[in-house]
């Protein structure tokens, strides 16, 4: 009964996953499937966090490593490393399919939309553009990502310049 009451229009389900010990959440309706990590084909001259492309039943799906995307420390992929394949909606390109690499998937949460708190202002140091909000669960805090913005192919080029420029310094 309570489960039903939760799944009304005011609440949404989120898939949570782990990334360097932090919990992140994405709308579950965007998720197409979750796969284990397997070696994929590199695409030349693309940002480092774009790991390459995967053959997903005949369509070519680009895969983004979220750790590298967020400039976190790189780690070796482990057996729990997952690829979460998602459908992205963007204005310029319509529906595209992309995958992200995360350390592990954790849970599916029913989150009341009223309980989502706006992302805190962390100053200019951290860009909160891709964060939809925060949810404070019983044990930890979950950062809810706006994947449509995060994985918009048009934004790849812009940010692509940044890490490279940083490295060259």
């Amino acid at each position: 009964m309570t489960a039903e009451a939760k799944s009304d229009a005011r609440s949404e389900q989120f898939l949570t996953f782990e990334l360097a010990g932090e919990a992140y959440g994405i709308e579950i309706l965007k998720v197409q499937e979750i796969r284990g990590w397997e070696p994929i084909r590199k695409i030349p001259n693309t940002p480092a966090y774009l790991k390459g492309a995967l053959n997903l039943r005949g369509s070519i799906v680009p895969i983004v490593d979220l750790r590298e995307r967020f400039n976190m420390e790189k780690i070796e992929y482990t057996p729990t490393t997952v690829v979460i394949v998602m459908c992205i909606q963007t204005e310029s390109t319509g529906t595209t399919v992309m995958g992200i690499v995360a350390d592990a998937v954790s849970d599916v949460l029913d989150i009341d939309l009223n309980e989502i708190k706006a992302s805190p202002n962390l100053g200019a140091k951290i860009n909160t553009r891709y964060i939809r909000g925060m949810y404070v669960g019983k044990t930890n805090m979950v950062m809810l990502l706006d994947v449509d913005k995060l994985l918009n192919p048009d934004e790849f080029m812009d940010i692509a310049v940044l890490p490279l420029a940083a490295e060259s310094k």
């Binding site: 070696p39 994929i40 084909r41 590199k42 695409i43 030349p44 001259n45 693309t46 390459g52 492309a53 995967l54 053959n55 005949g58 369509s59 070519i60 799906v61 680009p62 390109t93 595209t96 399919v97 992309m98 192919p153 048009d154 790849f156 080029m157």
Partner: protein, 682 residues
């Protein structure tokens, strides 16, 4: 009507455009001296279906217009009117006009009333001009009404309507027609039940009733005809005008039946005229909505579908055979298994080929428009031109067909306009008076070749050169090979015609043509002999979805190089290597210095096995006229690959034209040679 007619619009437009094409080619084929009745019939039928369809969908402007054309064609068909060149020209013009109207309706645009009016007037004048003196040209009822109208006022019509039993199956509904009649005036309907068979013999889907209709009022015969237009061939229809002086007796006489039929047997009629009038007007007032665009369909030969079904059948058989072997497998069945697998392989390949084949259309879809073009241009310029079409049945991918038509129009127009000389010039040059332009299509290897050749004056190299210098496209002292000279015409802003005609000569054509062809993955070449003519050949890949590729290895990465762009692959010898300014590496191959593109550098492959040039291989490739050598670790094998878009889920990547999936399920990127060259030059 509760059905949403809009869902049929697309089909209607497709069929109408096909009909128009049929009309056009029919009209062009008409031989003035000896008119083939079948040809006219074909044209007439096409016009008739367009008229019918547009009427159904409420596109009255189109149906009215087509009606006039149809009348003209009808008279030609019956031999009541001679087929003359002016008449054919007027009809051709009307076909164009109709096409414009249909396009406007499809796109939800405004119909150009002025041009429609002009065409209609010329049709009308054509109709009146040659109208035979004895009045046979008027159809029977028109004549009757004309005669009657001259004598006295028509007060009504007596119509005997006996449908053939299959009328209902053709989708016609008498009651609807009666309602339609009711909008014209007061109507009395009497049903004749005599034809209704015994209940045991009655087929409920057949119509055994016939009706007598009495319509009051001075109604023009054309309006009645319009209502019965659809059922003309499915019923016996007699109409007689009733004049004000005529008595009821005359009406009865008009029906030719006696009075014992009970008028009360009419069930469905006393509808108030106002109501129906309002209803019948509804579809007319309804503005045609813009048809849904974007979805494209393809017509496939049923033969192709049948082959497909056959193959799928065989595939299923092979599959069940294999699963049978697998169920109780023992080593002795190994040979059987091998056989089965090779069969499976063959069937899959055949299936793949025939599925690809569905997308293939004969190139006649493009070629068919050229007789018209040749006809128009030759009459406009006063040239005598024969257009030869060869290999029209050569099949090309649908996308290629669609994108090819504009470039080809440019080329053919150029040949007609610039290539072929005026008749007197030709005679003076010792040629036949009539020039020939040949359009030829054929397969060569994995390519389709389309050639536009003419026996006209050819390209003048000196003139081309002078022009290019004048326009500042080349340096006055530039050394050009013949090929390079001819290619000048593909430069933007180049036109050698002394004066511009409205047909061609603005110099915007050829560079666009080349760009379009290159966008399709093809190339364009020109061969010309001064005074003898020119040939322009277009080479295109057969299909855009599959390509023959050579897989190459660079470290752990596998790339596909389109086989068509590979010239050769070779080992690199140290003594043939040169370095320009210590950086740009070139390889001397038969007197030519090839720039070397190191794949592992340009694509940042860290796992590359060989970084010393002499250890790896050089794949000599050509893209958009530029030759270069790709330095790779190894050649892997040749295979057909299915092109998958990288842009669908990501974006364009420079140097990569797409991706494909290899036999082991992994992804490989297909190289874009011109893009690589650009990348290397950055």
């Amino acid at each position: 009507m509760s059905i949403d007619m809009a869902q049929f619009h697309q089909v209607f437009f497709e069929e109408s455009f096909e009909g128009l094409d049929a009309m056009e080619s029919g009209l062009l084929n008409l031989d003035m001296g000896d008119v083939n009745v079948d040809e006219i019939n074909t044209i007439f039928r096409a016009a008739h279906s367009i008229k019918g369809g547009s009427g159904t969908f409420g596109f009255t402007a189109v149906s009215d217009f087509t009606h006039v054309m149809e009348t003209l064609l009808d008279e030609m068909r019956d031999g009541r009117r001679r087929v003359t060149q002016p008449a054919v020209n007027v009809l051709l013009g009307s076909v164009d006009c109709l096409r414009e109207m249909l396009r406007a309706i499809r796109d939800g645009a405004e119909i150009d009333g002025e041009s429609v009016g002009a065409h209609k007037r010329s049709l009308d004048s054509e109709l009146n001009n040659h109208s035979p003196a004895d009045g046979v040209g008027l159809s029977q009822p028109q004549k009757a009404s004309a005669a009657a109208g001259a004598e006295e006022q028509i007060s009504g019509w007596a119509i005997a309507f006996s449908p053939h039993p299959h009328l209902l199956k053709t989708g016609n509904e008498p009651v609807r027609m009666f309602r339609e009649l009711l909008t014209l005036g007061h109507l009395r309907v009497t049903a004749d039940l005599q034809g209704v068979p015994d209940l045991y013999d009655l087929d409920p889907e057949e119509c055994h009733l016939s009706w007598k209709l009495e319509l009051d009022g001075n109604v023009p015969v054309s309006e009645i005809d319009e209502i019965f237009d659809w059922v003309e061939d499915d019923c016996d229809l007699a109409k007689q005008a009733v004049f004000s002086s005529a008595s009821a007796f005359d009406r009865q006489a008009a029906f030719g039946v006696s009075e014992h039929i009970v008028p009360d047997a009419v069930p469905a009629v006393p509808v108030k005229p106002e109501q129906t009038a309002a209803r019948s007007k509804e579809p007319k007032g309804d503005e045609p909505k813009a048809a849904a665009k974007g979805s494209s369909s393809i017509r496939v030969d049923t033969g192709k579908i049948d082959t497909l079904i056959n193959m799928v059948g065989e595939l299923v058989i092979t599959q069940s055979m294999l699963s049978l072997i697998g169920e109780h497998f023992e080593l002795g069945k190994l040979d059987q298994l091998k056989n089965g697998l090779s069969q499976l392989e063959r069937h899959t390949r055949e299936l793949q080929e025939s599925v690809m084949n569905i997308r293939m259309l004969p190139i006649s879809f493009v070629f068919s428009r050229f007789p018209r073009l040749a006809h128009d241009i030759s009459s406009k310029l006063g040239k005598k031109i024969e257009l030869k079409l060869v290999g029209e049945h050569t099949e090309v991918d649908k996308t290629v067909v669609e994108l090819l038509s504009d470039p080809l129009v440019h080329l053919v127009r150029n040949s007609l306009d610039h290539g072929i000389e005026m008749p007197d010039v030709r005679l003076a040059a010792g040629k036949t008076e009539t020039g020939t332009v040949t359009l030829e299509a054929y397969h060569r290897g994995g390519n389709i070749v389309i050639e536009v050749s003419d026996d006209g004056k050819g390209l003048d190299k000196d003139k081309l050169r002078a022009k290019a210098v004048e326009k500042g496209l080349i340096e006055p002292d530039a050394v050009l090979t013949d090929k390079q000279t001819y290619e000048l015409i593909f430069m933007p802003g180049f036109s050698t015609a002394e004066k511009l005609t409205d047909i061609s000569g603005r110099g915007v054509g050829m560079d666009v043509v080349r760009r379009n062809i290159q966008a399709l993955g093809g190339n364009i070449e020109i061969i010309s002999t001064l005074g003898k003519g020119s040939t322009i050949s277009i080479h295109l890949p057969l299909t855009l979805a599959i390509l023959d590729g050579q897989s190459i290895a660079v470290g752990d990465e596998t790339y596909i190089v389109p086989l068509g762009s590979i010239i050769e692959s070779l080992n690199i010898k140290e003594d043939r290597l040169n370095r320009v300014v210590g950086k740009g590496e070139t390889f001397l191959l038969r007197g030519q210095y090839l720039p070397i593109i190191r794949m592992h550098e340009i694509f940042n492959v860290v796992s590359a096995k060989h970084t010393k040039l002499t250890e790896g291989l050089l794949v000599v490739v050509e893209g958009q006229g530029v030759r270069c050598g790709l330095f790779v670790d190894d050649l892997l094998g040749q295979q057909q690959v299915v092109i998958k878009s990288l842009e669908a889920n990501y974006r364009r990547v420079e140097g990569v034209s797409g991706a494909t999936i290899l036999g082991d399920g992994s992804v490989a990127l297909i190289l874009d040679i011109p893009g690589l060259v650009r990348l290397a030059n950055q």
